[in-house]
Amino acid sequence: MAVRTRGRDVSPGVEALLDARVVSVGVWLFLAADLFFFAGWWFAFFYLRALNNNQAWMIQGLVRPNRGFGTVVLILAVLTALAYFAASRTPGRGSVFRLLAPVSLVLGIAAVLYQGYGMWHLGFGLTDGAYPSVFSGLTGSWLVQLAGAVAWLATVVLQAGARGDTLARPHSATSFGWILLFLAAVGIINYFLLYFVA
């Protein structure tokens, strides 16, 4: 980040330590906020499922979304997060990062494209009751966030060069790993709710 305190009395080393703490705390705060976001969706899931108004939580003969499809997306998302997390232990430096970060990016793009494709081929209409509503809203919200995270991941990979930000602020790249892990964890919960519990 180009914003500095411009201290006349602050050494760059101390500045970097402080920046690391700021970014790390910021990421955890963001994850807390995002947890409440997905918790809102999970509440909607259980609430409408329990109410089953007009027997229309899942109308008779509803074609369920393909479970195999969901499994592939989930595996891609989890691998994205794990690959990046492993890479981000040595951000910018070392062969591990150079190898795994681009791999993670490719996996992430695949997850987004595959899930995006799936959203157009749900097998049911959005008007077909409450479960299709929750499925599309929850999966869509997750997809949008995953796409945003993958876009940021692209900047992290592109900035991994000699003069780049990833090298200058490795702690930022490290903290970002938690966001991908969080989204993967949410993906796992969603997967069980939408494909099994429902």
Partner: protein, 623 residues
């Protein structure tokens, strides 16, 4: 010496400012509108309108300059339109994207005061139409539109009116920091507010929306295209609450000066801290509800349609899970202001500082467990009522603690009755009435009859206007000398206080009676027997509006005509922000301050000054 910094080499060819933003936003709106029609949904163009508002907002933010940093990261373009605060001290910095928390504070203040004018005009139109007991002055459809616009505009304002201007400006100064943790997020939280206000106002072109600020389905699903303004505008404010909350919390946690221990933190900062927790965690839940409403209105899902498996209770639960913490987002920073200002003018230590902090956290914590008190008459299971009644009543305990802390500080003090102090006294009076009337509404037996009446309307105006806005006024008179370098006229200020105080109570107290006499909210006609009462209220409301005009006049007169320069510390206060010169230097502290004393140690034997501003070398971070 500037630390290693990439100097801008290449600039984006478009100049970044709000005019560029507007010029980009207009075609973006029509692009969204066009894209929406492509889907060919039978949705009365709602898809296009929502996409249009969203695209326009994004385009506006790009025009202002928010895309530059991502572009820099992606392509290595050195686009850096944000000039260094040290170099740019001109008036132009207030009209552009700035990462200086002091500039952002002033941008917030001016923007929100302008919005307040429009919200106030809405209130005057509402009161004017109530001069007649039938709907002859304003037809019902237009009346409900006024209610919607006034209420949501005021919610936007009150969500940010203290945290935005005063939180952003003062928190770094009060904790001994040179900047915020996330200046870009801080700037984003501000630049989301003008688009939200414009999008909300655009509802008027579509006939407004009929739901008030609560947006209940099924009405909000059947409503016309004005409802889309509610959805997008509220979502933008929700986003602003989240990013502002993250930035404030990260700043207070990580950027405190050495020696600024948690127990030396000014109580106003604690108010901002607790309100930021609420904003950051509650607004995401609102976002879920708004996404669902938008989907129901566009792609025809059925989150809230019971015939198709949905439930309007889903909205009520999600909305109020956000909505009740939201009202504490309004009031916690106001509590902070009151507890902050009173010790300085009582010239006594804040009585029970730690207890006061516990009170703030108690309110913040309990606010998550009360939301169903808004559903007492919605037909929820009766077994749920006692729990939510009790949890709501419990909130009066931490609130009472905050009152006792303030009163204990005043006890046996020789009070200096400055204008800010008068507004603090007004706050205590008004909020006492507002708070106690709230206890009646938390009780199921009384709520069943008072729900939806002017009693609850009077209650929340006593807390929000009598509470938060009076605290806002105290903050303006107290801190504007530091922020603007000019003293506000105390003579006009005293007239303003008494005028506003009397007019406020004359306006809203009779509405408790109107509510007990069963006058319903949001309805343009009422029992003709209540016309005298309503005429009294309307005339009082005109006076109340006049007092706000007097305030605006005082600000303009004091800043531009009387031009009485403010001393660096006109109140002889101990706290850190007053130890800085006026105007505050670009990076606040020449050297990292070493905090050695508490902010409220008035009359404490051997009390040390609050900070050693001579500074240390190479030390940062919290204590």
């Amino acid at each position: 010496m500037v630390t290693a910094e990439h100097v801008s080499e290449r600039r984006l060819s478009i100049p970044n400012n709000p005019i560029t933003g507007v010029l980009l936003a207009i075609p973006a709106y029509f692009a969204g509108l066009w894209l929406g029609t492509l889907f060919g949904l039978n949705d009365d163009a709602n898809t296009g309108i929502i996409l249009g508002y969203t695209f326009a907002t994004v385009a506006f933010l790009i025009g202002v300059g928010f895309l530059n940093y991502p572009l820099e990261r992606l392509f290595g373009w050195r686009v850096s339109p944000i000039s260094d605060p040290e170099e740019n001290r001109g008036i132009g910095r207030f009209f552009r994207l700035s990462l200086d928390h002091k500039v952002i504070g002033m941008q917030y203040l001016v923007t929100i005061l302008i919005m307040l004018l429009f919200g106030g005009i809405g209130a005057m139109l509402i009161r004017s139409s109530l001069l007649s007991p039938d709907s002859s002055i304003t037809p019902p459809g237009q009346y409900i539109m006024l209610i919607g616009l006034h209420s949501v505009m005021m919610i936007f304002i009150t969500s940010a009116v203290i945290v935005g201007p005063f939180g952003n400006y003062l928190v770094p100064l009060m904790i001994g920091a040179r900047r915020m943790a996330f200046p870009r997020l801080e700037a984003l939280s501000f630049w989301l507010v003008p688009p939200a206000a414009v999008i909300l106002a655009a509802a008027a072109f579509w006939g407004g929306f009929p739901t008030g600020w609560t947006g209940y389905p099924p009405l909000s699903e059947q409503a016309g295209q004005g409802m889309d303004s509610y959805i997008v505008g509220f979502a933008l404010i929700g986003l602003a609450l989240i990013v502002s909350g993250i930035n404030m919390l990260a700043t207070i946690i990580t950027l405190r000066a050495p020696g600024m221990t948690w127990t030396r933190l000014p109580i106003f900062v604690w108010g901002i801290f607790t309100t930021s927790i609420l904003g950051m965690l509650a607004a995401p839940v609102l976002a879920v509800a708004l996404v669902q409403l938008a989907m129901d209105r566009t792609v025809q899902t059925s989150f809230f349609l019971s015939a198709n498996g949905g439930s309007n209770y889903l909205w009520q639960n999600l909305f109020w899970f956000f909505g009740h913490p939201e009202v504490y987002i309004f009031i916690l920073p106001a509590f902070g202001i009151i507890m902050e200002i009173v010790p300085h003018f009582a010239r006594k230590p804040l009585w029970g500082y730690r207890t006061g902090v516990v009170g703030l956290f108690g309110v913040a914590l309990l606010s998550w467990f009360v939301w169903q008190h808004h559903l007492f008459v919605s037909g929820i299971a009766p077994v749920l009522r006692p729990f939510y009644m009790l949890s709501t009543e419990l909130i009066s305990i931490p609130t009472g603690i905050i009152f006792l802390v303030t009163l204990g500080t005043l006890w046996r003090a020789r009070v200096w009755f400055t204008v800010p102090m008068l507004f603090c006294m007004g706050f205590l009076f008004n909020f006492l009435i507002g708070g106690i009337s709230g206890v009646y509404l938390s009780d199921v037996p009384t709520d069943v009859t008072l729900h939806g009446s002017y009693f609850s309307m009077a209650h929340f105006h006593y807390t929000i206007m009598g509470g938060e806005i009076f605290a806002l006024m105290a903050a303006c008179y107290y801190w504007l000398p530091k922020m603007t370098g000019k003293m506000l006229s105390a003579t006009i200020g005293r007239v303003h206080f008494w005028w506003m105080f009397i007019a406020f109570n004359s306006t809203f107290f009779p509405l408790f009676i109107a509510g007990i006499l069963n006058m319903p909210r949001r309805v343009s006609s009422y029992d003709p027997a209540l016309q005298g009462l309503n005429t009294w209220v309307t005339i009082s409301a005109y006076f109340l509006f006049g007092s706000m005009i007097l305030f605006a006049g005082n600000v303009i007169y004091s800043l531009f005509f009387s031009a009485r320069p403010a001393l660096a510390n006109p109140w002889h206060a101990r706290s850190l922000e007053w130890q800085l010169p006026t105007p505050v230097p670009a990076y606040n502290f020449e050297r990292v301050p070493m905090i050695v004393g508490g902010p409220y140690d008035y009359g404490v034997p051997n009390a040390r000054p609050v900070a050693d501003l001579g500074g240390l070398v190479g030390v940062t971070g919290g204590g």
